[in-house]
């Protein structure tokens, strides 16, 4: 595929997702730029945290961004675009191929509403959705993968060591598909920790993604969430860090992801509220099995989740409309 000029436009950095896609696209030979209309709110914990591969529009960057938009072959919009920015985009470029991608919003509610229709007057040639659990809200959208750019690593669990378990839920909100927290899980972690069976790494305050990744590399197990049947970016990062991934991902979430992995289901370790304590206890007591499962995670990431490989899914999608 010949090199494309791509501009990703996102209302907020969306925890770095569009920036990572743009980075991977640049690495694969395209001219790709991720633009955030604004950063996360001033004074909030996420401010300046996810702008590593994303340009925020300001007076200094505006001219360069305008030029990139004007010359773009593909304009890839993420989640939503306010009316005034639609006008801006329309003035700069109406001939590019417009692509829409749905991510999880901050609150679950809007997940149920297709916002692409409200970004008038663009006719999207392609509608994409993050290929984890979100596909069930947009069954006609094409699933695409989230990317993890960090290099993979593994630190295997060894005999005599205490099992290090990371659990870092971003919120305690409930929801059909967006819940991450459960009381039973919290109790299990606390009990096992007091019994000196495991060591729980759970940041009390939001920490930068790089810090969290480095901490994860020192762990053996990462718990994504066991409240719903979905999984999140955490599961992919855990594979990258050679961790066993505990979640409750259902057949459909795993099958969606397998479409990027030659049909191979990701090696997630199932647990729900009724068995989480038992699962963790067994992992802490059987270092050989734990080590084997860690290796399986690590191998899966290296084999299927390398960003330079996954970016091919986006290339294939673009190719279908050009």
């Amino acid at each position: 595929m010949s090199a494309l000029k791509i501009v990703h436009i996102t209302p907020t950095p969306l925890v770095g997702a569009p920036g990572k896609i743009a980075w991977a696209q640049r690495m694969s030979g395209h001219r790709s730029l991720a633009v955030a209309l604004s950063d996360y709110p001033e004074g909030g914990p996420l401010k300046k945290t996810f702008l590593a591969h994303t340009l925020e529009i300001d007076d200094f960057t505006r001219a360069h961004i305008d030029k990139s938009v004007r010359n773009a072959d593909i304009i890839h919009l993420h989640n939503f675009l306010p009316d005034n920015w639609i006008k801006w985009l329309k003035n700069l470029n109406q001939t590019a191929a417009f692509v829409y991608q749905a991510h999880s919003p901050l609150r679950e509610g809007p997940l149920y509403t297709e916002r692409a229709n409200d970004i008038a007057p663009f006719e999207f040639k392609l509608k994409l959705v993050v290929g984890q659990f979100q596909g069930r809200f947009y069954p006609s959208f094409l699933p695409v993968p989230n990317l993890v750019l960090s290099p993979p690593s593994i630190r295997k669990y060894q005999a005599g060591e205490k099992l290090r378990v990371m659990f870092s839920p971003t919120h305690k909100r409930g929801g059909r598909w967006n819940a991450k927290h459960s009381k039973e899980l919290e109790n299990s972690l606390s009990d096992l920790s007091q019994l000196n069976k495991i060591e729980v790494i759970s940041p009390k305050q939001p920490v930068p993604p790089e810090t969290l990744m480095e901490l994860r590399r020192t762990c053996h197990v990462s718990i994504d969430e066991i409240a719903t049947g979905g999984f999140h970016l955490v599961s992919l990062e855990a594979m990258c860090a050679g961790n066993i991934i505990i979640n409750r991902a259902d057949y459909f979430a795993k099958t969606t992801f397998s479409t990027f992995c030659d049909g191979q289901l990701p090696p997630f370790h199932y647990a729900d509220n009724s068995c989480i304590a038992k699962v963790l206890l067994r992992l802490s007591e059987d270092w050989q099995e734990t080590s084997r499962l860690q290796q399986k995670s690590y191998n899966f990431f290296c084999r299927y989740c390398d960003p330079m490989r996954l970016i091919g899914v986006y290339d294939a999608a673009y190719e279908s409309i050009l």
């Binding site: 809007p110 149920y112 967006n178």
Partner: protein, 711 residues
């Protein structure tokens, strides 16, 4: 059955009251969906407030308005009465769409009525505190604070005269939005005057200084040639001294008032203060002229010579006017039709949240200073007629004559609160205005807000939203739902009512953006949202605001818009010919023959969707052989069903639709929890159809259902 206490006749069956629409230009707001509750904290036949309520009740009932009167029992503590009133308002609310509680400002009887329970209408009849003020008696600050709070939070305010407002302003901050319209008058049956009897000057009222009884006696003394009739309660028990010979005392409670008026040449109303004077209004209804002080509210009801106003308190002028009027001995046309018409207009405008002035006569503009001056004079008059007894003798006399009143007025009565009268400063210190009763009023492009759903009693909360055009159907449905005593989540107080009108459909996102985070949280706490003939975008927006609520959409009209099946948990259609609903696939569709069947259908829709315990697996497809172990061995808390397919790998590369299609084509066995079967019953009943099977997967996964897929 609801007990409305005394004076609650004709109100024993509010659930089955007539639904006849009200006709007439004066009944715009007074309609069949309204219950009008009068709070009568006095409850004495010799009281002006009770007379007013009696007249108003008859008038409103003649317009098919459902009227309830809650009377304070004799010796009932105010605290207990307030609670009883609030409780009865809550009960009444279960049967109607709108409840208005009209109460006098006196005694703050509406304090226990919770916000959103009813619209409170305070009518200034003159409080006990105002009576105390004009007599120079000590004021009760706590009582005043309570009354002020009720005046401030009332959604409607009215006064029977401008005089009432002017005088009340000495004690309360009266908002400018107050309406002015007269009290209604009774209709006296025509009776023939007693020809043999000499005409007399009539005084009707309690023998109190406030009512000016001392002047009535003094007038009789100074005009011995004119007969006087004083109608007072229980005259034999009263201890009058030196009664002039031309005075006849009659029992004002037992006497037939129309007969009293028929033989009267005039009526005197020499009270220190009256907001209107029901005696005066009754006299006007009988066509009898009256003489009164110029600052009394009755002066605004008719002009001279029907009502002769004398400058307060020029007693000689008063006597002169009485003599002149008596000598004329005229009769005038009854003022009842005019007063009652103005009353209905006034109450209608007030209910429509409008300010109005329907007084028959323009009131004299009175400055604050003039009002103070009159009040000061009143106090002087009251003090002068106290017979200058020493304080201890007055107290002792009061204790002997009326121990109950003595206790109530003493400091002991203020400190020791009677049982049932729960008064707490912090509670009544809250002067926040009352929020609208409706759960939500969605109109135009305004921000969409919701009232706080009830925290207690705990249980499922249901919201019922209807189009203003479907109000009559909505009322029937609400009444039907309130009848389910064994299924409380669709009854008051768990049922929240909302209305949408002039709805502007700008798309779902715009609609969601009109609901702020706080209100999104409120709608999220609702378990079931029932919508009658809604715009499709509203259904989607409300379902998208939360994470767990189910929507029940009712299509009762042929022109109703088809909702989006993705955002409709249950569709209820009235009439089989209604719409092309069969062209879409629905989770659950119920067809009823008429609107009368809707309450039961709604109950079915909600009850079916509730959890089942135990939630057993129900085989829908396959599972022909030995499946018992598989079906019994699954925890339906985590998996809501089992789906079996021989395909190891679906090898889909497209969107989720592809995965659903491939699985639906290759599935061999399906078993789902009973709760899921009932939620998706319309789909489960046709699960053999591949397209339906695919839609079942799509809907259930969209809703958060997790299946154990075995390949």
């Amino acid at each position: 059955m609801v007990d409305f206490g005394r004076a609650s006749e004709n109100s024993n069956s509010f659930r089955t009251l007539s639904t006849t629409a009200v006709r007439g230009a004066d009944t715009v707001m007074l309609n069949a969906s309204l219950a009008y509750v009068f709070a009568d904290p006095v409850g004495r036949v010799d009281s002006g407030v009770t007379s007013y309520i009696s007249n108003a009740r008859l008038l409103l009932e003649s317009r098919n308005v459902r009227v309830f009167v809650v009377v304070r029992e004799e010796r009932e503590p105010f605290g207990a009465y307030r609670e009883r009133l609030a409780m009865q308002v809550e009960k009444i609310k279960t049967a109607v769409l709108k409840v208005v509680v009209e109460a006098p400002e006196s005694d703050a009887v509406t304090t226990e009525i919770p916000k959103n329970a009813a619209d409170i209408h305070i009518r200034l009849h003159g409080s006990r505190q105002l009576g105390a003020l004009v007599q120079g008696l000590p004021l009760n600050k706590n009582w005043l604070a309570l009354e002020q709070r009720e005046i401030s939070r009332a959604s409607m305010l009215s006064s029977p005269s401008k005089s009432a407002i002017d005088f009340s302003k000495q004690l309360y901050k009266i908002p400018d939005r107050i309406s002015l319209y007269p009290n209604p008058a009774p209709t006296w049956e025509a009776s023939t005057p007693d020809k043999d009897r000499k005409k007399y000057v009539l005084f009707i009222g309690r023998p109190q200084q406030l009512k000016g009884v001392q002047w009535a006696f003094e007038m009789a003394r100074q005009m011995p040639d004119i007969p006087f009739t004083l109608a007072v309660p229980a005259p034999r028990k009263q201890r009058f001294k030196n009664i002039p010979s031309n005075v006849q005392l009659v029992d004002g409670v037992r006497a037939t008032k129309d007969k009293l008026f028929m033989n009267a040449s005039l009526v005197v109303v020499p009270s220190l203060h009256e907001t209107a004077s029901m005696v005066g209004i009754e006299a006007l209804a009988a066509g009898v002229p009256l003489v009164t002080w110029g600052h009394l509210g009755i002066v605004e009801y008719a002009a001279a010579p029907f009502v002769t106003a004398v400058e307060p308190y020029k007693f000689d002028d008063f006597i002169e006017m009485v003599r002149a009027t008596h000598s004329l001995c005229r009769r005038y046309p009854s003022a009842t039709p005019k007063l009652n018409s103005l009353f209905l207009q006034g109450i209608n405008t007030t209910l429509a949240s409008g300010k109005c002035d329907y007084m028959p006569e323009k009131a004299r503009d009175c400055t604050t200073e003039q009002v103070r001056l009159i009040t000061r004079k009143s106090i002087e008059v009251a003090m002068a007629s106290k017979q200058n007894l020493p304080r201890w003798r007055r107290k002792l006399r009061k204790l002997i004559r009326n121990p109950s009143l003595f206790y109530k007025d003493s400091w002991l009565g203020q400190v020791i609160i009677a049982p049932g009268a729960k008064i707490s400063e912090s509670k009544f210190g809250n002067t926040k205005p009352q929020e609208p009763r409706l759960f939500s009023l969605i109109s135009g492009t305004e921000e969409i807000t919701f009232s706080e759903p009830p925290e207690k009693p705990e249980g499922l909360i249901t919201a019922f939203l209807y189009s203003e055009d479907s109000e009559e159907d909505a009322r029937q449905i609400i009444m039907g739902l309130n009848g389910f005593d064994d299924f409380r989540c669709v009854c008051h107080p768990m049922l929240q009512i909302g209305v949408f009108r002039d709805f502007r459909d700008d798309g779902v996102i715009q609609l969601i953006n009109r609901i702020d985070l706080r209100n999104k949280n409120k709608i999220s706490s609702i378990d079931h949202i029932i919508l009658l003939d809604p715009p499709p975008s509203l259904v989607e927006a409300l379902r998208s605001c939360g994470t767990r609520q189910r929507t029940v959409v009712i299509l009762s009209r042929n022109d109703a818009h088809m909702p989006n099946p993705w955002h409709t948990d249950v569709l209820i259609v009235v009439g089989k010919k209604n719409l092309n609903v069969s062209s879409s696939i629905w989770r659950r569709k119920i067809v009823v023959n008429s609107c009368a069947d809707l309450p039961v259908a709604i109950r079915r829709a909600i009850q079916e969707g509730l959890g089942k315990s135990p939630d057993m697996l129900l085989p829908l497809l396959g599972f022909d052989g030995d499946y018992r172990e598989e079906l019994l061995g699954i925890n339906t808390c985590y998996y809501k069903g089992i789906i079996k397919s021989p395909l190891n790998n679906i090898s889909a590369t497209g969107p989720m639709d592809d995965i659903y299609t491939k699985l639906a084509l290759n599935v061999t066995d399906i078993a789902v929890a009973e709760s899921i079967y009932l939620r998706y019953r319309s789909l489960c009943d046709q699960i053999e159809d591949v397209e339906i099977r695919k839609q079942f997967l799509a809907f259930s996964l969209y809703d958060g259902v997790i299946f154990d897929v075995r390949t």
